[in-house]
């Protein structure tokens, strides 16, 4: 019997608590854990605590009152409107792009994927600059739109475009690895059974990708609501009109209205914490259906 227990044959002179060869000494382990925890404490947790501490520095009532200020409420409203347009559009784009890339074979697919990923490597400020140069009032498209009474730059459309630009790859990147993994067999089977394209999508594909889709939408939303650099360039920062939450935070901060700035920041920080919590729950519960499990 080759798998007979051999524990009794351990030499008596060995220390009883020897560690396995594939780990480090306890001293090294504790030191390394302490170093990374300290690093994260100074860089991650302290700023998060600071946001809430500064917001509440003059009491909770002061913080809540500052959020009821018309400047703050209009910023919250604008940010919600921007996210309500940009996120669904990017979700539709992500689904369409992932369907196109994973269900068909065509030349230039690698180039298409690179182009979709492009916004990740472009500075948000450069993204904003690009939009100003495309749709600004002194360009052909922008000038024509201004003449029609619908300015794009320094108005809502450019804020939506800027938010879409910076979050463009989020949903597609999440869906593509999952859909590659799942292959085409289920959709092709549905097709042979006579299902229409939309029916295949809603009854076969969507149930398979729903958690990955939710994951991508979650990250896309967090970034869209919090985007600063690209929006700062295109918004024009008109109070009560084109100032999103992050832009309003900047304006309040520069006017030394610390409590108001940090209260609004605390709302965004709560959104970030909510996003992280939901994301972590999705990762624990549906790890096998998310892209992270399929990445090389």
């Amino acid at each position: 019997m080759s798998d007979a227990p051999i524990t009794h044959s351990r030499p008596a002179h060995r220390p009883p608590t020897h560690r396995p060869v594939t780990t480090e000494s306890p001293g090294f382990r504790y030191a390394l854990i302490a170093v990374v925890v300290l690093f994260l404490a100074f860089l991650l947790f302290a700023p998060l605590v600071a946001v809430f501490a500064e917001a509440l520095s003059k009491g909770a009532i002061e913080a809540v009152t500052s959020l009821a200020n018309p400047e703050a409420t209009s910023a919250i409203k604008l940010t919600l409107i921007v996210a309500a347009v940009a996120v669904p559009l990017n979700a539709v784009f992500g689904i369409a792009a992932a369907w196109l890339i994973t269900k068909y074979d065509f030349r230039g697919k690698a180039l298409l994927i690179t182009l979709i990923d492009l916004p990740f490597s472009v500075s948000p400020v450069v993204a904003g600059l690009c939009l100003v140069l495309t749709f600004g009032a002194n360009t052909a498209i922008g000038g024509w739109m201004v003449a029609q009474g619908y300015p794009i730059v320094f108005a809502l459309p450019s804020i939506i475009l800027a938010s879409m630009f910076v979050t463009f790859p989020f949903v597609a990147r999440e869906l593509i690895p999952v859909m590659i993994e799942q292959g085409r067999a289920e959709e092709e089977a549905a097709l042979t059974l006579g299902a229409s394209g939309w029916r295949i999508f809603f009854t076969v594909t969507l149930p398979n990708i729903r958690w990955a889709l939710l994951y991508g939408v979650l990250l896309c939303n967090a970034r869209a609501m919090g985007e600063f650099g690209a929006v700062a360039v295109v918004s024009g920062k008109i109070r009560g009109q084109t100032a999103t939450m992050p832009i309003t935070i900047e304006m309040l901060y520069n006017e030394y209205l610390s409590v108001a700035a940090f209260s609004l920041a605390a709302v965004l920080a709560l959104l970030a914490l909510l996003t992280l919590t939901l994301k972590t729950l999705l990762e624990w519960r549906f790890a096998d259906q998310l892209a992270a499990a399929h990445r090389p």
Binding site: L40, L115, L129, V132, L161, R184, I249, A265
Partner: protein, 278 residues
């Protein structure tokens, strides 16, 4: 043999999905980037060069790149250590720490910027300690560095973590049975396996830091030639309605981004070839 342009598939929806994809991609990404390049082309290389070739802009580009490089190096070291700790060690709060690593991705940059400034400014919690010790963090290059470390923090950890999880312990055991000390095994066996992923994370972190704006401008102080980053100069040029100047810096930064994108791809091709070979 060359593959056909399009392989016919029985699945419906190709025209629709291609239509949506290409329309939105063109409108949101390609048209604007094209407009930047077109603006650069109509201005002409000499006038672009004249705009970029000033001490203030060289200073800002050099500062952005140098500090981003240092921040990415610090993130490389701590990112690998963090990935190792999160995958290999068991301690209370590990899962919480693991989830928290993504905070810089989720927290808006403007929020991070004012929070870091509040902490590291001379009258802030950490800044006061530094002031008593005789140095200043916020409104200096150290402040910018802290903001850049913050935004790039998750990249190395998130690229290295899955690789650490995939390492087969047998390899480490083999190394130990051949008489290697633990330190030697880590240096000669484990680190080379992590290197490609770590380098990818390093390049991603670097690319992010070079273009970062929101978290930096609050803590930077924005003094020309000292603490002025390249993205801020684009904003300043736009506020002066100097579109050619903004375009020139924008194209310079776009070129830096593309160079780094190529670097990331080269690392991935290189590591794939290596792993395929082993």
């Amino acid at each position: 043999m060359r593959s056909p342009l399009i392989n016919r598939s029985p699945l419906p929806g190709m025209a629709l999905s291609a239509g949506i994809t290409l329309t939105l991609l063109s409108l949101v990404v390609l048209l604007p980037i094209g407009a930047l390049l077109l603006k650069g082309a109509t201005a002409g290389l000499p006038s672009l060069w004249a705009e970029v070739n000033t001490p203030r802009i060289w200073g800002a580009l050099y500062l952005s790149f140098r500090l981003s490089l240092i921040a990415a190096l610090i993130n490389l070291v701590f990112g690998v250590a963090l990935a190792w700790v999160l995958v290999r060690y068991r301690f209370p709060g590990r899962r919480f720490l693991d989830a928290a690593v993504d905070l810089p991705f989720a927290l808006p940059t403007a929020v991070a910027g004012i929070a870091l400034t509040a902490l590291y400014a001379p009258n802030g919690a950490f800044g006061a300690i530094a002031r008593d010790l005789g140095f200043k963090i916020a409104y200096t290059q150290s402040g910018i560095l802290i903001a850049l470390i913050f935004v790039g923090l998750p990249f190395v950890t998130r690229t290295v973590q899955p690789v650490v999880a995939e390492i087969e312990r047998e390899v480490e055991e083999a190394s130990a049975t051949l008489g290697a000390t633990r330190a030697y095994t880590l240096r000669r066996v484990v680190l080379p396996m992590l290197a490609p992923a770590a380098m990818t994370g390093f390049a991603l972190s670097l690319a992010r830091a070079v273009g970062e704006y929101g978290s930096v401008i609050f803590i930077a102080g924005n003094i020309p030639l000292k603490t002025e980053i390249a993205p801020l100069l684009i904003v300043i040029k736009l506020e002066e309605f100097n579109y050619v100047g903004a375009t020139a810096i924008g194209i310079a930064m776009l070129l830096i981004s593309f160079a780094m994108l190529l670097l990331i791809n080269a690392i991935q091709v290189f590591s794939r070839r290596r792993i395929g070979y082993v």
